[in-house]
C-alpha cells in the first residue's frame, strides 16, 4: 500500500533534498525556473515529478561537468474552479509577461497558449531527444498538437465512464445477471442512453436512493461524452474550426432535459458542491450513477472508504462506457489528458529537459498508481506496480472508443457556453432546442471567428 505524502510536505521535502543534495552548486550558475502548479489531490506528483525531474537533470549536469544547475520555484495556486479557471488566469499571466517556465494544464487549452506564441514549440525537441519522449504512446501526442506541431508533453490520461452502484440495483430488484452484464450490454449497444436513464429511474423509484444520474457540477469534460454520443465532435476537420450542429446539440440537451423531467438527475445538479456529489455516490449510497473519470477511484472514492482491491470494489460498484443513443450504436468514452507546457522563455530547452526527466517511466508510474491515472509510456505497462493497479488496466479498455476534446484555442470558451446552457436546461429555464440555439448565439457573440455553424 502506498502512503502518499501531503503535497506541501512533498514539496518541502523535494526542496530540502535539492538544497542538500547538490554540494558545490553555489559555485555554479543557477538557472531559476518557475513552475506553476495547483494544490490538487488528484495529482500531487504533477509538480512533484517536475521537482524530481530537476534533481535528475542536476545529477546528470554534475556528471557531465556542466557549469550550471537548475532550481525550481513552485508557484502553487489553490484549486479555484479547475483547469478552465486556471487556464484563464495563466493566459492573463502570460499576456503580461509573467507566465511560468513550466506548467500543467488540460490538453484542450494548449492551443490557446500556443497561438499567441506563449509556448516553446516542442516538436523538434521531442524528436531530437528520444531518450525522454520516444516511448510515449503515439496516440497521446495528438492531444498536445496545434496545427500539427507539438506544444506540450503528455503527463497522464484517463477514461470517463458511468460508475454505478450495484447495491442499489439489487435493492431495486435487478437480478445478479442484469447487474453484472450491464457494462457488456452497453458495449454491445443493447442499452442506450435513454435505456440507462430508465434503469436509473427504476432504481430511484424502487430504492432509498434520491438521485439517479449525477454529473460534475462545473464546466469540464464528462458531460461532453453525451454530446459526442449524439454526434457532436465539435471540430470541423476541413477548416479546423469549432463545429456547431444545432440539431445534434438539441438531441444531447434533450437527454439531460428528460433526465430532469423524469427525476433521474436533480435540477440543481449544476449548483451542487463537489464533495456533496461524491459523497452521495461513493459514501451515502444515495445516487445510482456518477458520470466521471477513472481517476476518481484513487483520489476520491478510496478516501471515502471504497475498497482498494478489485474484488471489493466490483462487489459494490461497477462502471460502463457511455451508451449509444440508439440500439446497436457504438458506446463512447472520453479521455482527458493533462499535459506539461513549457513557456517560450530564455531557458525553454532546459525547462523541456526537466519535463523530459519528469516524464521518466518510474516517476510517471508513481503518479499513475497513486491517483489512478493512465500512464504515458509503454515501459510503464511492464512495471509490476502498474500491473497491480487493476483499475488502470480495465479503464484502458475504454480507450478503444474514447474521444478527445478538440485542441482549439477557443474550445474552453465554447465549453463554458455549453455548460451554461446545460444549467439552463436542468433548471428548467431553457428547453433542449432553446439551449442549442443559446449555444449558437453565444458562440457567435463570444468567439465568432472560431466557429462553423451547420
Amino acid at each position: 500500500m502506498h502512503k502518499r505524502l501531503s503535497y506541501p510536505i512533498a514539496v518541502a521535502s523535494f526542496g530540502l533534498a535539492m538544497s542538500f543534495s547538490t554540494p558545490g552548486v553555489s559555485a555554479q550558475e543557477i538557472i531559476e525556473l518557475n513552475l506553476w502548479s495547483r494544490a490538487d489531490q488528484s495529482g500531487p506528483l504533477r509538480p512533484g515529478n517536475i521537482l524530481e525531474g530537476a534533481n535528475r537533470l542536476n545529477a546528470q549536469l554534475e556528471m557531465d561537468g556542466a557549469d550550471y544547475r537548475v532550481s525550481i520555484t513552485v508557484n502553487e495556486q489553490p484549486d479555484q474552479g479547475g483547469y478552465d479557471s486556471d487556464a484563464e488566469r495563466l493566459l492573463r499571466a502570460f499576456a503580461i509577461g509573467e507566465g511560468p517556465d513550466i506548467f500543467h494544464q488540460a490538453h484542450e487549452w494548449i492551443c490557446a497558449f500556443a497561438e499567441p506564441g506563449y509556448l516553446f514549440d516542442l516538436t523538434d525537441y521531442t524528436h531530437d531527444n528520444p531518450q525522454f519522449f520516444a516511448d510515449i504512446f503515439e496516440s497521446l501526442w495528438e492531444s498536445t498538437e496545434c496545427g500539427g506541431r507539438r506544444f506540450a508533453v503528455p503527463q497522464d490520461a484517463e477514461a470517463r465512464m458511468f460508475f454505478f452502484n450495484k447495491g442499489l440495483m439489487k435493492e431495486a430488484g435487478f437480478s445478479e445477471e442484469e447487474i453484472e452484464s450491464l457494462d457488456e450490454r452497453v458495449l454491445a449497444g443493447e442499452v442506450t442512453l435513454d435505456g440507462i436513464s430508465e434503469i436509473a429511474k427504476q432504481i430511484v423509484d424502487n430504492s432509498d436512493a434520491e438521485y439517479g444520474i449525477l454529473h460534475r457540477p462545473s464546466r469540464g469534460p464528462d458531460y461532453l461524452m453525451i454530446f459526442n454520443q449524439y454526434g457532436s465532435s465539435f471540430l470541423d476537420p476541413e477548416s479546423g474550426m469549432l463545429l456547431l450542429e444545432e440539431g445534434k446539440l438539441a438531441d444531447a440537451y434533450g437527454w439531460f432535459e428528460r433526465n430532469v423531467q423524469n427525476g433521474v438527475t436533480p435540477s440543481n445538479n449544476t449548483s451542487m458542491d463537489w464533495g456533496f456529489v461524491r459523497d452521495q455516490f461513493w459514501k451515502e449510497n444515495n445516487a445510482v450513477m456518477w458520470m466521471y473519470g477513472v481517476w476518481d477511484i484513487g483520489s476520491h472514492a478510496v478516501p471515502r472508504g471504497v475498497p482498494t482491491d478489485e474484488e471489493g470494489f466490483f462487489e459494490l460498484f461497477g462502471w460502463t462506457a457511455a451508451p449509444a443513443p440508439v440500439e446497436g450504436g457504438r458506446p463512447g468514452s472520453l479521455t482527458h489528458p493533462i499535459v506539461y507546457g513549457v513557456g517560450a522563455g530564455e531557458h525553454a530547452e532546459i525547462a523541456a529537459a526537466v519535463v523530459g526527466y519528469a516524464s521518466d517511466a518510474d516517476l510517471n508510474t508513481n503518479h499513475a498508481v497513486t491517483t489512478t491515472h493512465i500512464g504515458i509510456k509503454n515501459a510503464q505497462l511492464e512495471d509490476p506496480r502498474y500491473q497491480e493497479a487493476w483499475s488502470l488496466a480495465l479503464a484502458t479498455e475504454l480507450l478503444e472508443f474514447s474521444h478527445y476534446m478538440p485542441n482549439h484555442p477557443d474550445f474552453g470558451t465554447l465549453n463554458q457556453i455549453i455548460y451554461e446552457a446545460l444549467q439552463g436546461v436542468e433548471t428548467g429555464q431553457l428547453s433542449a432546442e432553446d439551449a442549442a440555439a443559446y449555444v449558437l448565439d453565444e458562440a457567435d457573440a463570444r468567439i465568432p471567428d472560431s466557429i462553423v455553424i451547420n
Partner: protein, 318 residues
C-alpha cells in the same frame, strides 16, 4: 503720504498673504478629495472609455480602434434585454421593499420602543453590514442550500414535518439576492432615519398630542413629513448602489442558476472576465453603467429638489 503708501503696501501684502493662505487651505481641504475623485473615478472612467473603443481581449493586445463593441451592445447581444429587465426588477424590488420601506419601518419601530431595546434591535440589524461579505454570503448559503442540513430545511423538517428539502437558490434565486442585499440595505436607511427621527423637535409631538392627534396622525404628519429629505437621499444613493450590486450576488449565486440572477454588473464581469476575456466589450458595457448612473443621479437630484436641502438656511437659528 509715505505712511499712506506704506499702509497700502502692507494691506496689499496682507491681502496677498490671505489669498495665498486661502489657496493653501483650499489645497489642504480639497486636495485629497480632488486626488481621490480623480484617481478613483475620473481616470478609471477615461480608461474605460478608451478601452471600450479597442479590441482588447484575452491576449491583452490592442490591434485596432473600433466601435464594434458598441454595435454589439446595441444590436448583437441577445442576452442584454433579459439582463436589463432583471436589473430593473432587482433594483426596484430591493429598493422599494427593503432599502427604503423596511429601513423606515425599522427606524420607526426601534425609536418607538424603549431606548435600550431599540438600540439592541438596531445593533442586530447592523450585523449583516458589519460582517465581511464572504462571511455573510457563506451564512446565506449555509442557511438556504438544498441539502437537508441547511437552516431553512432543518426548520421545515423539524417544525413543519416537511420530508423533502427545498433549494431556495434553485426555486427563487432572484428573491434570495433581493433579501440578501435588502437586509444590508435596510440597515443603512435605518441608521439615517433613526438619526433624523431623533432630531425632530420633541415639542412638535407634544403640540400634536394636545391637538388630539393619534399615533398614526403623528407619524404621518410629523415624523414622515420630517423624513422627506433623508428618504430622498437614501433613495438616490441606494438606487445607484444597487445598480452596481455585485459582490453578494457573485458570492451567493454567481449570477445563476443559468442567468436567473445575472444583473447588469454581474453581466459585465462575466462578459469581460469570462473565458473569452472580452475586456473591451466589458468596458463598453461598463460605460453604459456610468452614464445612466450620472444621469439618474442628476435626474433624481432635480426631481426631488435635493438642491434646496443643501441651500443656505433662510433664517439663522441661534
Amino acid at each position: 503720504m509715505g505712511a499712506v503708501k506704506e499702509e497700502a503696501v502692507v494691506r496689499s501684502n496682507v491681502r496677498k498673504a490671505m489669498k495665498a493662505r486661502e489657496r493653501a487651505n483650499m489645497a489642504i481641504f480639497f486636495g485629497p478629495a480632488f486626488l481621490i475623485v480623480s484617481f478613483f473615478f475620473v481616470v478609471p472612467v477615461i480608461v474605460d472609455i478608451a478601452i471600450s473603443f479597442t479590441d482588447l481581449g484575452r491576449e491583452l493586445r490592442i490591434t485596432e480602434i473600433t466601435t464594434k463593441n458598441y454595435d454589439r451592445a446595441f444590436t448583437g447581444d441577445r442576452q442584454l434585454p433579459g439582463v436589463i429587465a432583471r436589473t430593473v426588477f432587482y433594483v426596484g424590488a430591493t429598493l422599494l421593499i427593503f432599502n427604503t420601506t423596511f429601513g423606515l419601518v425599522l427606524a420607526l419601530a426601534t425609536t418607538a420602543i424603549p431606548k435600550t431595546s431599540g438600540t439592541f434591535f438596531r445593533a442586530v440589524w447592523l450585523l449583516p453590514r458589519m460582517s465581511p461579505s464572504v462571511v455573510y454570503a457563506i451564512l446565506w448559503i449555509w442557511s438556504i442550500h438544498g441539502g437537508d442540513t441547511s437552516l431553512v430545511n432543518q426548520i421545515l423538517k423539524n417544525l413543519f414535518g416537511s420530508e423533502k428539502p427545498i433549494d431556495l437558490i434553485q426555486l427563487e434565486p432572484m428573491w434570495v439576492i433581493i433579501f440578501a442585499n435588502g437586509f444590508i440595505g435596510a440597515s443603512f436607511a435605518m441608521i439615517i432615519l433613526t438619526s433624523a427621527i431623533r432630531s425632530i423637535p420633541e415639542h412638535l409631538y407634544h403640540a400634536a398630542r394636545c391637538d388630539g392627534a393619534g399615533s398614526l396622525a403623528v407619524t404621518w404628519h410629523i415624523t414622515l413629513a420630517h423624513l422627506r429629505w433623508p428618504l430622498t437621499y437614501i433613495f438616490i444613493w441606494q438606487t445607484l448602489s444597487l445598480l452596481t450590486s455585485f459582490e453578494y450576488i457573485l458570492l451567493i449565486t454567481g449570477g445563476g442558476p443559468f442567468r436567473a440572477t445575472t444583473v447588469y454588473a454581474i453581466f459585465i464581469f462575466q462578459r469581460a472576465f469570462g473565458s473569452a476575456g472580452q475586456y473591451a466589450y466589458g468596458a463598453a458595457l461598463a460605460f453604459f453603467l456610468i452614464v445612466p448612473g450620472v444621469i439618474l443621479a442628476l435626474l433624481l437630484w432635480r426631481v426631488s429638489k435635493m438642491g434646496t436641502l443643501l441651500q443656505k438656511p433662510r433664517i439663522e437659528v441661534q
